[in-house]
Amino acid sequence: MSATTASGTGRDAVRATAIATERARAGREARRSSISGWITTVIVSLVLLVLWEIAADLWLTRLGVLASPTAIIQSLIENPQLYWGAVTTTAWVAVRGWFWGNLAAIAVATLFVQVPIFESLFLRLALALFCLPLVAVNPLLQLTFDPDTAKVVLAALSVFFTTLVGTMLGLRSADGGPLTMVTAWGGRSLSSLRFVRLPSGIPAMLTGLQIGAAAAVLGAIFGEFIGAKAGLGVLLINGLMSLDLARVWSVALLATVMAAVPYGIFGLLRRWLTPWSASISNAQQLSAPKRGSVAGRLASAVAWTIGSIVVILLAWWAYLIVFDVSPFVGKSPIDVVNYLFASDEAAANRAMMLDALDVTLVHAGVGYVAGLVIGIAAAVSFVTFPVVERVLTPLAVALRSVPIIVLIPVLILALGRGLGGVVAITAIVTFFPTLANTQGGLKRVPTDAFTLMRSYDSSTWSTLWRLQLPYTLPAIFASARIAAPTAVLAATLAEWLATGDGLGHVIVSSRAHSDYTGLWAAAAILTAVSLIFYSLVSWAERVVLSRYAPSQVG
């Protein structure tokens, strides 16, 4: 007995040593591979920088579209005070907008998840705010608030919706098991919120805060287009006017850094604060599919839709009354209805709007698909190949935080003003939230599921296809929902700056001609279209998720 024990202990000791050796080896291996990964990253980045320098020096600077890295660095070194002043001015607006926008988004998301009636009534209002084109919103903000507040509000509006959708997704991703347990122990919905939903919602919230940084910087820069003496936007306008490419691209670089720093910090925070998110099993509870007559469900959907529309119209009126908006600029729903249906030119107005809408729908549709595909593909390659992630993440952040007017000349030169250019612009504006959300989703696949796949010797691609993508479906669909209105907005941006047709053009020229009724009408049509687009994607999401991830269906 004692002998067996002794030999047992001996064997245990041997095994322990073997395990320790193996662990040490694996650790060294991991360190070595991570070091070689970083070396690859640095080399690839340097090669890209050199290529950029050569392309700019030989060709692109002469064409007036892109400054070289050395020209940018020189400009930054020669005017440190100028740039520092501009960065602090714009950052102060961006930080406040980011803070208030995210705070509001998280509060509203929590309210929506806890009290579904609010979601049914007010989500479309939140969406409508998000759908408003910048060209239409800017003059209104300028006339509604004092200059500083207007800029902060714009930055806040830029971050609000993405965080709202992300946070709702996170709160809903709470595991069925723990939720059932809290309920079984008599916990009420507030306890579920505190113990289950909020903790499991944190990763998605942090993703929202991450993405929001870029959006807030962009919002703050565009805010300066409504009148400013200082800031990155002012430097940008002057740089463009005098075609000082080093100035323009220095601003672009600084905007990227301002977005990238919080992006990195919140990414790390997400990794450190929420280690449990990837380790606990996400056993999903099968909720009973909703029963009830088709007619009954349809009727309630119609009722909620009508309710939301009433809420949006009331909010529209309330804005005009509460802020005492001058009737010259602020048009009521009645004015818009008259413009489209009752006035003498109603038929002509309608025809003009519908023609423009046709064009915009094509642009938005193609750009939507492109942005979504690029976003998902980028997320998959980022997760599969860490080197790609490290090299391209700064570029992805740059594409999201650099004002599109800086990129337009390069894009038009490369792709022309046809559908190619429009698709590129739309994709650039839409792909980033998709990338970030999908990447976040892919990383949250439970480790024990990975272990299982590995034990079956599953290949990288098979794991991706059979495990990671299905697991990420909720995140992908959340991105697809966010991307729907974004694509419509981005298409109008492309129409304004590149093609000169569609509703984007109608909005810009209405504004140039002080035709605020036309502007509100176009904005209302765009919002309605975006809402419908969003609902279609939501419907597809429900159908798919009820099959694959029932706990996500609220």
């Binding site: 007036g64 509604t144 002057n238 000082d244 802020f323 010259f328 020229s509």
Partner: protein, 353 residues
Amino acid sequence: MTFRLTRRRSIRAAATATAFAASVALLAGCASSSSGDTASGSDEPTPLTLQTSWIPLVQFGGSYVADKEGYYEKNGVSVDILPGGPDVDSMAAVASGQADIGMGNADTVARANEQGADLVIIAAGFQKNPLAILSSPDKPIADPKAMEGMKIGVPSGDEAAQDAIIAANDVDASKVTSVPVGFDVAPLVSGEVDGLWVFYSEQPIAYEEATGKAGTVFLTADYGLDVYAQVYAVKKETLEDADKKAAIEGFLKGEIEGWQDYVADPTEAVDLTVNDYAKDGGLTIEEQTKQAELQMDLLVTDETKEHGLLWISDDGIQKNIATLESLGISGADESLFDTSLLEDVYAGKNTIE
């Protein structure tokens, strides 16, 4: 509501503070001078806001001089010069009461009125419309007829101007391609377009800087787009109140004095722009000096030499109205202009001393 209220309250607070400071200054003055000047309570300057149309540039240099040299104060007003920008609608700012005076082009004012605003133009900073067409000297577009067969970059919203110049000069519209552009000359430098709508005193400098050769420029004002630009517009009802009208007149007097200094020697205006009013804009003295000099062509004409800067003549009004009609703006007539303030401040002379 709160924001509006706070804003109003802060304006009122600022006004009270200014008034308080003024009375302290007066008291101090009384105390120091033994003779004791009679201090009348109505001496405090009337606060006015001027909404400019773009971010701070020497384009508004005369206003900066007037502000800095105390020409506004001297005429009983204190002026808050608000920066503009690409998304600022100065006419909407005036129509909605956010600003007292707005700067813009005569056609912008007429379009605002067409849409229900009730604005009137009291003075014209730029006698000539600065909208010009810039092209490469290798493929010059020296007049509208030369636009045929060319690709022209038109800023969104200016299509009506392009249509008008095509119609007025017998150009075959089917032979002109228009594409939307922003406010940089990159599309022309890269060769993507052959011609570009620009601001006469700004982008041509950038083009020369970027390509090393002066571009070919023609002013659309010389080919039928004859509207006053950088005009000063106020609400009609502002002029119906005698006190307010007096304040606006005071502003106009100070403004003209500022621009007189500018025309005599733009050095101070350039310096004020680069080092003070636009000090965070990253502008350079050289470039703003070039802009200031080009701008002289817009500010000074035979008419202003005879009647004074910012002048509005009967002949000019007729030309403006004809152009506004060609732009398709309805309802513009003589009532768009009110020359009585200019007549009052100049009182028959052509300068203000």
